[in-house]
């Protein structure tokens, strides 16, 4: 069923980065504007799916040699670790903390432990969607 779809492939090569950059933007914007780990993760997986549609699964696997099940595991560790971290400060499980800091280039920035939690969500979402899509796709 492989057709050499040159236009789609060329467009994909460019848009892929745009989509991924956008998803990262969505992820970081999450706390103040629409976005967050869930949407960001989905958007990234959308980008990879686009790659899958333009090229075939083997090529994509060569470009991104990632074991997505491990991504799920790491994501879960992030989420649970953030939650458990609060326990060390004698706070209930999953208590978040935040502060404001002046960072070079970025200026006044808010730093949240919620970002770590959201990173977990982000990774799990990518891992899960890509695991499902890859296993189903590979079984062809």
């Amino acid at each position: 069923m492989k057709t050499n779809d040159i236009i789609l492939q060329t467009v994909t090569k460019f848009t892929l980065f745009v989509i991924i950059l956008f998803s990262i933007h969505l992820f970081f914007a999450g706390h103040y504007y629409p976005g967050g780990g869930f949407i960001g993760g989905l958007m990234t997986s959308g980008a990879i799916v686009l790659l899958l549609l333009a090229f075939d699964i083997k090529t994509v696997k060569m470009i991104l040699p990632v074991d997505y099940l491990k991504v799920v595991a790491v994501g879960l560790l992030f989420a649970i670790g953030t939650g458990a971290g609060a326990l060390f400060f004698d706070k209930p499980f999953l208590t978040h903390a935040y502060t404001y800091a002046y960072l070079p280039l970025l200026g006044k920035t808010s730093l949240h432990t919620a970002v770590l939690f959201d990173t977990g969500v982000f990774l799990v979402v990518i891992g899960v969607t890509m695991t499902i899509i890859q296993t189903i796709g590979e079984s062809e």
Binding site: L42, S45, V72, I80, H96, I132, S139
Partner: protein, 805 residues
């Protein structure tokens, strides 16, 4: 977090390290890393004697789920301390023994020691927690870890069978106990054991009392292998011998005893408790000793012996509980029973522990445990023989060993039960001393069998796998220590009286003491020519006679129909359960997702519709509904048309695209209603799921419309219309029925203040309701694993089929 909590949790913490230690220090036996822990814990717990010895207790709390009254409260009192010392003390000896018993080249030591540590921690938790729910949690952890330990050699079918059996029976008991705990909570309103004990009067007079009592006893009886739940213990002997020595003689099986002792102050004011505990105990005592005599495997003999000895301790606790029933210590005889229970608990741990280790040595050095093959080992293994003599003579109740002392006191207790007036005891009570005496004869008999058939008699080298020789010194240390304790406790029975036994009794019978007062325990060898002494003499005489003429009467064992045995009932029951559940499952699991959706949605309609109707919950209030705009009408039309077109689509591709259209329209709705987050999510989800559908396109079965008959399609239509109608009704009445103010105001106010974010949706997801999100992504992860496993497994199976061609 106190040091005490750390002590209880330390085995679990060490368990995490064991795999790494095992991996990186291959040349060292993993057991050596373990050994310091129980030894240090033992020393740590010894310090508490100075407190508990004067009736004091140490209590430490870590808040856990305080709103539900569940806190991780640990309490060290006499009883808990006694058990903690047993667990850590015997634990250290068992670990030492196991280092020489388990060959590091052949066994998976890392898993073994992880299980053992899990067990040790769980057991400490059971005996030291003061909260019933915490106790229950640890209690089930002991069931699980013992399941793992029994099934340690999981390539053997008997091990798996034994592990499953112990798990099914003890977890059944555990769940009954949970029900009992909840009932007790209903009665008292607290999970704290100390507070429950103070409310014991209310407990006794509550209508739920008898049910609670029975449920608790089910937990205790299954754990302590009481008749007729004893059947799991002999099968549990498939575990490695150190495990048998530890779990099945010294600690886990005694958790049931512990529970009975711990709950005695709560329940014992009623005659039912005395009657049940003492009755079941004495039956177990008899049945265990009777069955032990017919065994030919050394470990099986010890297993049944443990069953019987546990029964003995149980019956003593029952007899002693009568003291609370009568509410007096003037009549010291009941106190004697409790003293005997505590004393025998210690004695049993010492002699049975050493005997299990002796059995392990025999097994290790000769390759068999069958007494028909063994014999004449005395000349080859003099030290082991001495240890066996000490252990068995103590078990048989022969002076001057410690078993004799507790047995004498046991007879006293049983003789007194005969005189009680609980439940017409004056007529039936006479059975107690009779059964107890008969059981003691059998106990004597199997003890003699154990030692003489193994070490005396004819040496049969042709039946043994290896030439027997004395065990290495390392394997002998632990049993030698235990056997010395047997002798020390036998000759100086009052070593432990004031430090250990009296405080433990204080915890069992607290209400009989004034503040700061302790039980005056004095154990002595010579009571004068009492009935108990003559009973012992009778036991020894009849026992020797029966042993001499064993071939003449042993035929009675074959008379007993094996078809009637409890094992048989258990096996048949298990088969029946499997068969029935298979049949039931087969009748509704068709393998078509369509069928399951029909079940789900039918249930959905029925449950919600009936709630709406019977609760009179449907309400329509259109007063504050926003006007419908033109765009919305258009979108609804698009959605409806696409949804209906799906039904008539001829190809799957069309259906997928139409479904996508419905999803994108929903996203547009979110845009209209100013929910950009939801719109974004919906859009991306829709995209990913449509492409997923397309990827899976080739795997989906062909659409075959004709297979569905008209009637079936009518049902489908009915169900879909029903679901639609119900959802609409719920949406409408949810809007009209606003009992509570909307929670969104809270989020609007606090999103920035408390979480420092401006996007409410995201803040709710990661902060306010972060717990939900955490579990949601966990579920997602599990789903991914499931799909991964399903598809990969199918692929490998296909490969195998190819190879078979």
């Amino acid at each position: 977090m106190s040091l005490l909590h750390l002590a209880v949790l330390s085995p679990l913490l060490l368990a995490i390290l064991i795999p790494f230690l095992h991996k990186y220090f291959k040349s060292i036996h993993t057991g050596w890393f373990l050994l310091p822990l129980p030894a240090v814990l033992f020393a740590y717990f010894l310090q508490f004697i100075s407190t508990t010895g004067h009736g004091g207790t140490v209590m430490e709390t870590v808040p856990w789920i305080s709103s539900l009254g569940i806190d991780f409260t640990l309490k060290v009192d006499g009883l808990g301390l006694l058990f903690a010392l047993l667990i850590t003390g015997i634990g250290a000896l068992v670990v030492l023994y196991s280092i020489y018993y388990l060959n590091p080249d052949k066994e998976k030591l890392n898993t073994f020691y992880v299980y053992l540590l899990l067990f040790m921690g769980a057991m400490l938790g059971v005996v030291l927690s003061d909260n019933l729910i915490v106790l229950y949690t640890f209690w089930e952890l002991t069931s699980f870890s013992s399941f793992l330990l029994i099934g340690y050699w999981n390539d053997r079918e008997r091990s798996r069978y034994g592990a499953q059996k112990s798990m099914l029976i003890t977890v059944f008991g555990g769940l009954s106990m949970l029900a009992g705990i909840l009932m007790l909570y209903i009665i008292t309103g607290t999970f704290s054991i100390s507070e429950t004990i103070e409310m014991s009067n209310e407990v006794v007079n509550h209508p739920l009392f008898t049910a609670t009592l029975i449920l608790f006893l089910l937990g205790a009886f299954t754990k302590s292998a009481q008749f007729p739940f004893h059947i799991w213990l002999p099968d549990a002997m498939e575990a490695p011998t150190p495990v048998s020595a530890y779990l099945h003689s010294a600690t886990m099986v005694k958790a049931g005893i512990y529970l009975v002792a711990r709950m005695t102050p709560v329940f014992a004011h009623s005659g039912t408790w005395v009657w049940l505990v003492a009755g079941v105990g004495v039956i177990t005592l008899f049945w265990g000793s009777f069955s032990a005599v017919k065994q030919t495997d050394l470990k099986a003999i010890l297993a049944f012996s443990t069953v019987s000895q546990l029964g003995m301790i149980m019956s003593l606790l029952g007899a002693g509980a009568a003291a609370l029933h009568y509410g007096t210590i003037e009549d010291g005889y009941y106190i004697v029973a409790v003293t005997a229970a505590v004393f025998h608990l210690i004695n049993h741990a010492t002699f049975k522990g050493s005997l299990f280790m002796v059995t392990g040595i025999i097994d290790h050095e000769t390759g068999t445990r069958d007494i028909r093959k063994l014999g004449g080992l005395m000349n080859f293994m003099p030290i082991t023989f001495t240890l066996a003599i000490i252990g068995t003579f103590s078990m048989a109740g022969i002076p001057p060993f410690n078993g004799f002392l507790s047995k004498e006191m046991f007879f006293t207790g049983m003789l007194r039960i005969a005189e009680m007036d609980i439940f017409n005891m004056d007529t039936w009570g006479i059975l107690f001393p009779i059964i107890a005496w008969t059981a003691s004869v059998f106990t004597f008999l199997y003890s003699m069998m154990y030692v003489f058939k193994t070490f005396m008699g004819k040496y049969q080298p042709e039946k043994l796998e290896t030439k027997p020789h004395e065990a290495p010194i390392g394997m002998l240390i632990s049993p030698v220590i235990l056997a010395s304790l047997v002798i020390i406790f036998g000759i100086f029975p009052n070593v432990l009286s004031h430090s250990i036994i009296s405080p433990a009794m204080g915890s069992i019978l607290p209400s009989l003491l004034e503040n700061g007062e302790g039980f005056d325990v004095h154990i002595s060898h010579w009571h004068g020519p009492t009935a108990e002494l003559f009973m012992t003499i009778g036991v020894i005489t009849i026992g020797i006679l029966l042993y001499k003429f064993m071939p003449k009467w042993a035929g009675i064992y074959s008379k007993f129909p094996s078809r009637m045995s409890f094992n048989r009932f258990y096996d048949r029951g298990l088969e029946l359960v499997e068969l029935t559940s298979k049949n039931i499952t087969r009748s509704y699991m068709t393998g078509f997702i369509r069928t399951y959706l029909v079940y789900i949605f039918t249930f959905f309609i029925l449950a919600l519709a009936s709630t709406l109707i019977f609760k009179n919950a449907f309400k329509l209030d259109m007063s504050d509904v926003a006007p419908i705009r033109f765009f919305e009408v258009v979108l609804v039309l698009i959605m409806a048309i696409s949804a209906i077109t799906i039904l008539f689509a001829k190809s799957r591709l069309t259906s997928i695209i139409l479904l996508g259209a419905v999803g994108y329209t929903v996203a547009l709705f979110f845009v209209l209603f100013r929910a950009p987050d939801l719109a974004l999510t919906q859009l991306v989800i829709e995209t990913v799921s449509v492409s997923l559908f397309l990827l899976a396109f080739y795997h989906l079965p062909q659409i075959r419309r004709n297979e569905e008959r008209i009637r079936f399609r009518a049902t489908n239509a009915l169900i879909s219309i029903g679901v639609g109608a119900i959802v609409t009704m719920i949406a409408l009445s949810a809007h009209s029925n606003k009992i509570f103010g909307s929670i969104s105001e809270y989020y609007v106010e606090n999103t920035y203040k408390k979480a420092g974010g401006e996007n409410m949706v995201n803040v709710i997801l990661v902060d306010f309701r972060g717990f939900d999100t955490m579990f949601e992504i966990t579920v997602l992860g599990i789903a991914a694993l499931g799909i991964f496993a399903m598809i990969k497994l199918r692929l490998t199976r296909g490969k195998e089929l190819d190879e078979n061609k």
